[in-house]
Symmetry: C2
Amino acid sequence: MAKDFVESTHQENHTCQIALMPAGRKGKVPRGSNLLKVAEELGVELESICGGRQTCGKCQVVVEEGHFPKHGIASSADHLTPPTAREIEYSQEHRLQGRRLACAAEVLGDVLISVPEESQARKQVIAKAASERTIEIDPAVRQVYVEVRPPDLSDPSGDWERLQEALEAQWDLKGLSMDSGVLATLQSDLREGNFAVTVNIWQEREVLRVLPGYHEGLYGLAVDIGSTTIVAHLCDLRTGAVLATQAAMNPQVRYGEDLMSRVSYANSEPQGLSRLHRGIIRTLNELAEKATQDAGLIPEDILDAVIVGNPVMHHLFLGIHPRELGSAPFAPAVSAALDLKARDLGLNFHPASRLHTLPLIAGHVGADNVAVLIAEAPDEQDEVTLIVDVGTNAEIVLGNRQRLLAASSPTGPAFEGAQITHGQRAAPGAIERVRIDPQTLEPRIKVIGYDAWIIPGADLPHEARATGICGSGIIEAVAELFLAGIIQPDGLFDASVAERSPRVRYQGRTGEYVLADESLTATGLPVVVTQNDIRAIQLAKAALYAGTKLLMNHWGAERVDQVLLAGAFGSFISPFHAMVLGLIPDCKLEKVMAVGNAAGDGARFALLNRTLRLKAAGLARWVEHVSTPLESSFQDEFVAALGLPHARDPFPTLQAFLPKPSASAKQGHRNRIREKHQASL
Amino acid sequence: MAKDFVESTHQENHTCQIALMPAGRKGKVPRGSNLLKVAEELGVELESICGGRQTCGKCQVVVEEGHFPKHGIASSADHLTPPTAREIEYSQEHRLQGRRLACAAEVLGDVLISVPEESQARKQVIAKAASERTIEIDPAVRQVYVEVRPPDLSDPSGDWERLQEALEAQWDLKGLSMDSGVLATLQSDLREGNFAVTVNIWQEREVLRVLPGYHEGLYGLAVDIGSTTIVAHLCDLRTGAVLATQAAMNPQVRYGEDLMSRVSYANSEPQGLSRLHRGIIRTLNELAEKATQDAGLIPEDILDAVIVGNPVMHHLFLGIHPRELGSAPFAPAVSAALDLKARDLGLNFHPASRLHTLPLIAGHVGADNVAVLIAEAPDEQDEVTLIVDVGTNAEIVLGNRQRLLAASSPTGPAFEGAQITHGQRAAPGAIERVRIDPQTLEPRIKVIGYDAWIIPGADLPHEARATGICGSGIIEAVAELFLAGIIQPDGLFDASVAERSPRVRYQGRTGEYVLADESLTATGLPVVVTQNDIRAIQLAKAALYAGTKLLMNHWGAERVDQVLLAGAFGSFISPFHAMVLGLIPDCKLEKVMAVGNAAGDGARFALLNRTLRLKAAGLARWVEHVSTPLESSFQDEFVAALGLPHARDPFPTLQAFLPKPSASAKQGHRNRIREKHQASL
């Protein structure tokens, strides 16, 4: 009994209590244990690039003053070994102000440690301000610091073998291969760094880069190749921060506004494929150049990239002829995710840079759609969610954690301001908001670059003058024209209204509405919305709605619980006006949200977290795709969707707002639309 | 009991006896079994590219007439299903003359099948006529024919996914990646081949090439980059045949004859490394161009390559600066084997072509040495084997299955005809054989390109006239001068002999021997062997012998059981003269063999059989390397080895042939050599 007690006391003297906040992990550890290792053993992984060599300073912790909850310690600072010379040097240089480097401290007594957020490995970061979604930072490319054994006459092993040995011993990285580019400079890098180097490793498999000495900074590029716009986000792969965003028009636009005309171009022109492919590569190189410049970097700093796009963009980016995507059975050349070398595609990133393309769901449901799923995660929700990524080609996703359906719908470029008389891209001068007084029929407008509503007759500075209408502007304009009764549910101008306002004018038999008269425009010519503009918007929104409706029918959803509006200009669409237009089905208005460039966000998430790439592969197989053009009911749904907001579907949410057409006008509307549509076939 | 018998008879009726010759495998198989599968189950793997689709015709077998040993079948041909329409078509087209395609036949009764050698998979081929060594054909790149499911509206999978599916189902190849070059043409290749394609796969991992339809022909290049000569063998990877061999001078020779002067050049010239590297790549591209042309192919037909060379050549080929190889601790940048893409090094093979470099043993014992081990396999022998690869840098290997030692020795280019007054490369006009009559002191010579011994005063056609002396010629000349007593064991001309023959002349105090007077030479000037030439050969052979001796001392070998002379001109050295010169230690003369370009052979073997690459990796780690210049006894051994054949080692094999020097001459010889050597330090 006495002996037992002695032994237990003895043990007590040689173990220490440790508590780690805010994780709340506690444990007993042997006296003399290294704090970095202790934390790891207790499940609190601390950030470390140098692997405990007191070099990177990432494992900073705060030794809390006050009392250890159970044991009442006055100053727990004494319960760690004093700072080492190297730590003191680092501490002074970087003004640590009392913080300790966990890797430099050994536990001598009971301590209460607080781990600041920036010291936590695999940090959860808010990846998207709007949705506050967090993702764990776990990029495909890692950065580690290693100290390599110098060569020795008695040991004939090569630099590469000794580097491999160090990576295995210090980071548990085994069986690594290397990019052939590493070969040429490995020996000089090792010697320049006095056999200490910073190494970048892709997927625990391939060494991409070796830099002499200790080095921070790890960057990647997330790219969404849209039919009309290419957006690139330069990201810090350690913090998740977006350092710069650059966008450019897709240079393929000159060969055709929509996807099918680009496929035709590739089919008919001998140099077509090559021009379309090289155009994207050139633009990506330019975007990388500009984005890295914005961040004080160079394109060679980019070590990883994730690319998304619809199937045609995906194929053209990869240099694959899109011909098979242009006709049934719409077989892609490859639908799986690909891991490539950026250099093999002619991209001027770091010569060893990796490149990942997200998978396609089908020949007309692309990697951009997968990216939207990654960004918005409808598969993790109970609510039946509709995601509409509005663009020249609209991506539609419907469902929840039980089942997800996807389709794409060729809406054409009307929503992006093309095919609209005074349409233009969203840029300063573009009318982006429209309100029309139902009594006076007078408009108010908002112009990009001028932060106030503009009314007719206002005295405007030059920068406030309108140059045209962008996508969100034309959507609001058409919706407001309908709400004000200027156009009828069939989209035609109501001739009787023309008598009430000089703004409604007739050119021959077709009407137009003067949205901004000459005094408000930069050109000195009025900006108008014509009957043709309205028709273009009707066709585009009908394609979108019909696609959505087919998915709802397949899913068996009578209505949707929420609607996420994505796309380059998705953030700018007014949910109310989108619903008045019948671009989206009926839903509680507060459940309609703009989520911005969800495809670009998905690419960014997959860049920052490699597990999401695995999830993407799984989703791409799990999601059911619906070939909208092949569905027998598509045409019927399309025709019905031409009406405002819809020829037959009820919109209870809009009940209070919609004008009440007479029964005869309603019938006439339907007939006219049918005749028109059938004539156009 | 009766029931049992019935069942047994019943069983007997539904199984067939099958015997496969020459393997002698026998078994019972169910009636109706496919012959190709049956053979495989019995352990006789038949060649097949098409995987049983009656397309490639590789699985031909002979249905033997006569009697099945045990059962006495009159005509076993009836015991297979009759030829299918496709087989008959193939049979007529390729004149099979009674052979059957195993994949097209089902077993109906007892049969005796003979498998011709060309139908056996993983054929053993004689890889080397001289040694009759056989190796199994199992290259790193495979070629298979697959039929891919065409795309289908109901299935959104890509061409690549359906190809993967077919490769898994038909060839059990799982989880394949693809070279990015495959992407661009996959869909057109599949459609051109009506969804049947021939696919090349590297190491069961990566698809390198897809060709429409059924395709034969699979080629690789084995390259030995020597300091002076680069040799490339173009091989058929299915049959193992060498289709063409091309050699070229190493273009680096202009920057320095020996390795150290090239390292100096890279160190001192800013563009040095790049010039040395690009020179090799350019030459390899030229060799590939010529070799493929010889075989009616193009460089793009090359899908795999194996490269060997000494460490400096290895590094320069890879674009790595050789500076670290030039001084202690002689650390290579990489010593492990590398798997690269040929294109990444600028080689114009197939864009997806693979390239494998054999590993180094140490910073001065290279991949060429490993290749020699692969070619000659001393690790599989009981006899203590010495392998000497004679070149500008000599590679030495000593040992047997218990233990192997390796070293390299900088012999310099004397053995290749450089540093010799009338030295030249082995080419028409070079004196390659020499005999000197010990009585008359008159020579006989043989000249490359003229197939007879030439004696002084002969009336010669122009092509028989000597232009100089090549490596094997100078070795024989010096050995014969010694055997005839014209030079002494210390290498100096014996002044007393000059009185006996006008061929021995003195220029001042140094002698020379007229090997071919002006009437026998193309230049009209005599070809002579000078005292300096003899000195150069002595220094070179002493370096080689001293290296050998150090390895013998390390190993604990008093003498060696056999000597293999390798190297570009190893085949041409007379074993007897090499021993008289003291280039190799004493050994039974019939156990001294020329094995040709063993390094090139090793590269070729590793190209044809991927298991040998694994063996090479193991050998490179297992072999002990000896740093000859760092050994304290090297200098002593070197000095002693300057004498002919050696100052102290006995050569019992040569007892009967060597001149008997007086005791005093012997002593004087030793002293002079020591003085000379010490003066030169």
